[in-house]
């Protein structure tokens, strides 16, 4: 499958897309406890891009008809209550635990993918903090970093054989994965990501990050700082090989990206220890080795 055909296949898959296997066990463990703790619930949902996106989607959906948009999970838990959010998470997690057939042919290791996503989220948040972005916006940087590659999940799960071609082309031709996707599949993970963001009605800032994190200089919208920060964090995760998202030949961010952010690579590298520590804490929480 490629191009339009691939798009249609993914569209059908997105609504039943399960969370990542890395966090499913912990979600079930926490949500099935009668005395689930708000902190645990917040943490486990925040650590899974699919779960987080789905929960935020539901909270902001027509189902609740809330008059103001809720962008923070902490607020969602306080507003809608622990039980409601627990049920949302549980119903999504069950998808992942019952239906494992979809990942058996997966070409991208989903634990590695999870680690990459988490690293980009954590780094984007630390970069925001270092650059004095207001505290209430720092979570958005995390959220967008965690979700930036979400389009790879349906490609990997729904069309593993086709996706293998793209991964192989990237390795053989030593080109970035997004270029390889474009040449072999005529459809990239940024296209697939945008499909998800539209289908789940997530906000424009996330959509722009998902769509433009490989083509920052084409971007004309209002979330330039966010898009650029996430792509720097993405490059960091790839170069440091923290997790793996299939991109062995990442394109270095251009000088304009650093100039716009008022940032130097050295400052990014200096955050490595902090970022690794935060990732370790998440792993301990999920009981990963």
């Amino acid at each position: 499958m490629k191009g339009e055909q691939l798009r249609r296949a993914l569209e059908g898959y997105i609504d039943k897309m399960p969370p990542l296997p890395t966090s499913v066990g912990k979600v079930l463990e926490i949500c099935q406890k009668p005395n689930a703790q708000p902190n645990d619930l917040n943490k486990v949902i925040s650590l899974d891009p699919v779960l987080l996106a789905r929960v935020m989607k539901l909270i902001n959906s027509a189902y609740y008809g809330l008059t103001q948009e809720v962008t923070s999970l902490v607020r969602a838990i306080i507003m809608l209550g622990l039980n409601t959010v627990k049920n949302l998470a549980l119903s999504t997690a069950v998808l992942g635990s019952l239906n494992t057939a979809h990942t058996k042919n997966a070409v991208l290791n989903l634990d590695g993918f999870w680690l990459h996503s988490l690293c980009v989220g954590v780094m984007a948040k630390h970069l925001a903090k270092m650059r004095n972005i207001p505290q209430q916006d720092q979570e958005t940087y995390f959220f967008c970093g965690l979700l930036h590659d979400i389009g790879k999940v349906p490609l990997n799960n729904r069309a593993p054989e086709d996706y293998l071609q793209a991964l192989t082309a990237s390795a053989d031709q030593r080109i970035s994965l997004v270029q390889a996707e474009a040449s072999t599949l005529e459809f990239t993970h940024t296209d697939a990501g945008a499909l998800i963001i539209d289908a789940w009605k997530l906000s424009d800032d996330i959509k722009d990050v998902v769509s433009y994190h490989h083509s920052p200089l084409d971007y004309q919208g209002p979330y330039r700082d966010l898009v650029f920060t996430v792509l720097v964090a993405d490059y960091f995760a790839n170069i440091m090989e923290i997790g793996f998202s299939g991109n062995r030949f990442p394109t270095p961010p251009s000088a304009e990206v650093y100039r716009t952010l008022g940032l130097q690579w050295m400052q990014v590298e200096a955050l490595e220890t902090q970022v690794r520590q935060e990732i370790e804490r998440a792993k301990v929480f999920l009981k990963l080795s």
């Binding site: 902190n39 609740y64 008809g65 923070s72 902490v74 507003m79 049920n87 209430q136």
Partner: protein
């Protein structure tokens, strides 16, 4: 616009010698408005049974019953009277049924009608002859006949729950049950391993803002009927997260929101008539002592069955 209280108790009906004066039926309010004395009922606790009997005497002889029932939520004490509401068995009755449903697959009809099946009750939903329509509600504004505006607001309760604000000809009546003040669920001790200052701050802000929204929802109302199941002392003693307010919270919230009359409702089933009398005196004195001279004193009363507002 006036309101008659047919049930003021929370949790479970509790008839007996200690609840004779305030009443033992669970929540049900009869709300009348407009030139043709239209009927809106809030909640169908056990108090809706005597209301149904009364309607058959007063309204039915003049024509078919045409009413709306607004459910605050679908916990049992708020729906249990529904199968005993006589008008549902009359073919000419028209009922618009409104309420929220917690996130799940079931519809409002099956959640409320779920109690009408043979294992619980001798009549099933399919056998009811009234003409009923169901409307799942969110936060919204409803425009009912004869210029009644009803605004809804999500409250804090273990399931999805709505407060109602009725506005008609310049008068405002608000129901806030079942409701617990929003609180920061992420308020861990500083030395707790889960403590995160950013999450703590976000939680503080969210709780503060959500409580301010509730204040705004009741602002300037002529009458507010507010959940007050516990005293503050009881609330702090292991009842946090149960979805109910303390009397102190309700009084303070009403006072700061410029409410004219506060009616405390959803009494705990253990609360006796004598205790309620005593609490009325205690809080009355406290309110008077704290009122600024020259400013109107918040009028407040504990809800009683049969009370007309």
């Amino acid at each position: 616009m006036n309101v008659t209280l047919w049930g003021v108790r929370g949790s479970i009906p509790c008839p007996g010698p200690t609840t004779v004066r305030y009443g033992g039926n669970t929540l049900c309010l009869e709300f009348r408005y407009g030139p043709s004395n239209r009927l809106v009922i809030v909640d169908a606790g056990s108090g809706i049974r005597p209301l149904g009997v009364e309607l058959m005497k007063t309204d039915f002889p003049h024509g078919p019953i045409d009413a709306k029932i607004l459910f605050s939520h679908t916990h049992w004490d708020h729906i249990m009277g529904f199968p005993f509401f006589t008008p549902i068995f009359i073919p000419t009755t028209k009922l618009g049924i409104y309420g929220p449903v917690t996130f799940e697959e079931d519809t409002l009809e099956s959640v409320i009608g779920g109690q009408l099946q043979y294992r619980y009750f001798p009549v099933t939903m399919a056998e009811l002859s009234a003409q009923m329509t169901y409307h799942r509600l969110q936060e919204t504004v409803l425009n009912f006949e004869d210029d009644l505006v009803v605004k809804t607001k999500y409250l804090n309760h273990p399931i999805t729950c709505l407060g109602y604000r009725f506005e008609h000809e310049g008068k405002v009546i608000v129901t806030l049950f079942d409701h617990e003040p929003f609180r920061n669920l992420f308020a861990t001790e500083v030395d707790h391993p889960d403590h995160d200052p950013e999450i703590f701050e976000e939680g503080e802000k969210a709780a503060r803002e959500e409580n301010a929204r509730i204040d705004a929802f009741m602002a300037g109302a002529d009458v507010v009927l507010h959940d007050a199941q516990y005293t503050q002392k009881e609330y702090l003693k292991g009842r946090k997260g149960w979805g109910h307010s303390s009397m102190e919270w309700a009084i303070n919230a009403a006072a700061r929101s410029g409410v004219k009359k506060l009616v405390l409702i959803h009494h705990d089933p253990e609360r006796t008539d004598d205790q309620l009398d005593e609490l009325q005196n205690t809080y009355q004195r406290a309110i008077q002592a704290r009122s600024a001279p020259g400013r109107p004193v918040l009028e407040f009363v504990f809800a009683r069955e049969g009370m007309v507002l």
